[in-house]
Amino acid sequence: MAKVFIPRDTTSLAMGADQLVAELTAEAAKRGEQVEIVRNGSRGMFWLEPMVEVETAGGRIAYGPVSCEDLDSLFDQDFLKGETSHPLCLGLTEEIPYLKKQQRLTFARAGITDPVSLDDYQSLDGFNGLKKALKMDCQSIVDEVKASGLRGRGGAAFPTGIKWQTVLDAVPTKDNQKYIVCNADEGDSGTFADRMVMEADPYMLIEGMTIAGLAVGADQGYIYLRSEYPVAHQILNEAIAKAEAAGFLGENIQGSGKTFHLEVRLGAKAYICGEETSLLESLEGKRGLVRAKPPLPAIVGLFGQPTIVNNVLSLAAIPYIMSQGAQAYADFGMGRSLGTLPFQLAGNIKRGGLIELAFGATLKELLEDFGGGTFLRPSDACSTGRRPTGCLHA
């Protein structure tokens, strides 16, 4: 039976993936072909979505972007056997230069796995970091994160290990309660790396948050997700339910006696709630007004208790650091900026998508080698970050 992969992430769905699955299934039945369709995550080559992959002995062969009108000719030219003659054929997925030139740590599994399959996740190093952390004491976990050099990926680049140390050392004022909060209010236009983590590899975020809970003694976590991400919401909830059922979340994780509960909370179209203190206000059920600092959320956070507030990408980097060791992560990057960074190309560009590279890539490499230049008219300027960063002349 042919095994075919068609993603279920926002961009693939927005480009017609569900309709494609329905029509591909119907066409296969009509032609008497046996097909197993896996709904994977996106590889992050969004201009090729929906990108269809077919499993062959030599690896997955990709076709894209595929529309329903292409199905007839794809079947005629034996795409189910990985035939490469069709004009939409992109060859072996792993050999596509856009993907091959990347250094994927955080996005290593993206697009390869079914995002809610626990078996897929575990077959590619999933939960190994958690299993190690369950055998370590709090301080050793925090030390490992410090040694990795990981800095907050939300934008402020604060050393994650130092933040965790502050929460570990803080004393709760009530019920010995501390919290882990994931800031998934990715509101800036042109950014979708958090969404891709949540839609392509949600267990990585769940594992990272659970390790954070073990590191500082917090048994409750919240993912504050923007309501503009309905697909991520659906996938996260599916993944949390499955992780709980399999004993990776909830009470007595993997028989360790440790507990960590996790819940997704939706925002409600308020851009300011991406700022961590207004996010905490919103989680408490209030208007999202910014709090004065100090006190830091690490000391007086959610419901007044010590709280780690980390970005999705920071938490998603944790399983790799715990599983492969701090040094393996620190070997990427340069100077005091260690590890990798996902770049996101979007807007008026030919090949929009996600590119994970070690710190040190140049703008020219990104825009020309990866992006392939502009999509509509020539560009005079580009924005290199979020709205507040302004624009650079070309």
Partner: protein, 163 residues
């Protein structure tokens, strides 16, 4: 005989009862009500206030702070057009002008046949395949005037079938 409005308040009571035990329950309750009814009726405010032991002013303050919550009934479908930078770089301003003209409404308004409410949204995370539009819970990419008209036609046909 209970009216549809009274049934709606019964739904409000159910949502409140199922969520009020949660820490920071207000946003989950407001989402729960709006998911079921499409909006938050004014008469829900004192019910929520009583359940959470807060003032009506506090509840109203939260509802009015967040752009997503509405206190009037929407049309059968909600269509949101992304106005953020990546979509603007790909022509979403022309798209929104076309949408307003085609539907005969401005943002935050509902067509006269009550089939479609038009709203703005700031980033759906589909920036690499802009411009983007959200139709209820579905996101659609690379939307131009032609694709928009087809989407609307489909929605209006669905509305007729339901009626």
């Amino acid at each position: 005989m209970t009216t549809a409005y009274e049934q709606g308040l019964q739904t409000v009571a159910e949502v409140i009862a199922s969520l009020q035990h949660k820490p920071g329950a207000l946003l989950p309750i407001l989402h729960g009500i709006q998911d079921r009814l499409g909006y938050i009726p004014n008469d829900a405010i004192p019910m929520i206030a009583a359940a959470l032991n807060q003032s009506r002013a506090e509840i109203h303050g939260v509802i009015s702070f967040y752009h997503q919550f509405r206190t009037t009934a929407p049309g059968k479908h909600t269509v949101e057009i992304c106005r953020a930078e990546a979509c603007q770089a790909m022509g979403s301003r022309q798209l929104e002008a076309h949408a307003k003209e085609a539907l005969g409404v401005d943002y935050h308004q509902t067509t006269s046949d009550r089939s479609i409410s038009l709203e703005a949204v700031y980033c759906l995370g589909n920036c690499a395949c802009a411009p983007s539009v959200r139709v209820n819970d579905d996101i659609v990419g690379r939307v131009d005037a032609d694709k928009f008209d087809k989407l609307v036609e489909k929605l209006k046909t669905q509305t007729l079938e339901v009626q």
